[in-house]
Amino acid sequence: MTQGIIIAAFGAAICALLSGIGSAVGVQIAGQAAAGVTSDQPDLFGKVLVLQALPGTQGIYGFLLAVLILVQTGLISGNPHSITVMQGWAYFASALPIAIVGLLSGIAQGKTAAAAIHMTGKDPDSSAKGITMTALVETYAILALLASILILFSI
């Protein structure tokens, strides 16, 4: 196994790790808000569950990119390609956009989801507006994922 492969593996790990943490924290924040609302209005469970789930997507994006890096480097099949240190750093660089943006946007989206859940708690008819507001944060996670994929496939 070359040094380049190890650096690429670190890249795969870091994008799954950071975006996963971002999602976990975001879902936790939204979950606390959802628990507060449903403790008094259990019938709103369905509406607030959608909002709570939204910050979970960053973790999926990070995982997706990690799998793509593992496929590109042959690590997933157990026969890693022979890549240089510079190529290894390039794979690592491809992981950074979704890793960092995934971490921060997951938390930010969790906070927005919590506020939207509170809005739904007061006015259940406004849950669609809340979903739209929360989904807007997603845009930047998607852009980061695209950037990561473009870098990955240009190596």
């Binding site: 606390q32 628990a35 609302v37 403790s39 008094d40 906070k111 509170h118 708690g121």
Partner: protein, 309 residues
């Protein structure tokens, strides 16, 4: 150790509870009601005071509703140190009653307020046995300072000042910008009202000075200078600090209508507006305190409407 209740959870629950606040239609119905019984019917229809065992008097229904609210706030607050500050007024009321009852040898237990920070049983037991050391140190200190006083007015002043001092000390050690801003207005309100009331009743400057408390945004020396001045001159003495425009307007209005109750209400509205602005902060104490204050104002309005029937 971190408190187990998070702000998102507490605010989520508060937002659900806010749905039960009486709306404009209900207020109109209550105002139009011919008598207290009709008011009770309207309140019952909207689930107000639903925990009340005795649905025969508005005051009992309101007390029952507020008991539920107080329990909710105390069990829900992510930062009980801050929310407890809003219950110290009830402790002040209880302490004044008990101290005056002790002085005048009257039984005041039926008049005590149940929702103070200090449990009523502990407070009553302490006064029966004259043992204060089991009460919180700050409350013990207030009682000890007031035991020798022979004038009910002095007892009130001593207790009120001591409670405001506890609030000020707590906020020095437990910082929160929103709650600090609210209580700065409360300290200023105390001083402005002392100034206006003292001038109206021609109290001596030493008596007015004894009512003033530090911690507000208006310098105390400005208030002292206003003693003895005519109503239309007072506004220039409150024109300092971050809230000067609001205070100036309130005191100018007083110079026109000469109604002390209006000054009290406007200062109360201004303090409430500071909390109300933060009612949608999903990660702060604002919505919790806003709900408590809104329920208190709601209770007060219902009592006023009932009293007019």
């Amino acid at each position: 150790m971190m408190h187990e209740i998070s702000y998102p959870f507490a605010v989520g629950r508060i937002k659900s509870l806010e749905k039960n606040l009486l709306d404009a239609t209900v207020w109109q119905q209550l105002t139009d009601a011919n008598n207290e019984n009709t008011m009770l019917k309207i309140l019952k229809e909207h689930g107000y005071g639903s925990q009340s065992e005795d649905y025969k008097s508005v005051s009992k229904v309101v007390a029952s509703e507020m008991k539920v609210v107080d329990h909710e706030i105390k069990s829900l607050s992510p930062d009980p140190v801050l929310t407890n500050l809003f219950y110290l007024n009830e402790d002040a009321y209880n302490l004044k009653l008990l101290l005056k009852g002790r002085l005048l040898k009257r039984d005041v237990t039926k008049l005590l307020h149940p929702s103070g920070v200090v449990p009523l049983n502990s407070l009553m037991e302490a006064f029966i046995n004259e043992k204060w050391n089991e009460l919180p140190v700050s409350i013990e200190s207030v009682i000890k300072q007031s035991l020798e006083l022979q004038d009910p007015f002095e007892i009130s002043v001593k207790v009120d000042k001591a409670i405001l001092s506890i609030i000020r000390e707590t906020l020095i050690h437990h910082r929160n910008r929103l709650i600090e801003n609210y209580f700065i207005v409360r300290f200023d309100a105390n001083n402005i009202l002392a100034m206006i009331r003292g001038n109206a009743l021609r109290w001596t400057s030493s008596k007015i000075n004894s009512l003033l408390v530090p911690g507000g945004s208006i310098e105390m020396k400005m208030i002292e200078r206003a003693i003895g001045k005519s109503d239309d001159q007072l506004s220039q003495y409150v024109s300092s600090g971050s809230n000067r425009f609001a205070y100036r307007r309130i005191v100018e209005n007083y110079a026109e209508d000469h109604q002390l109750s209006n000054v009290e209400k406007r200062l109360d509205d201004f303090a409430f507006s500071i909390i109300h602005e933060q009612k949608n902060d999903s990660f702060g104490i604002g919505p919790v305190v806003n709900y408590l204050l809104q329920k208190r104002r709601e209770a007060s309005s219902i009592r006023i409407i009932a009293a007019k029937k």
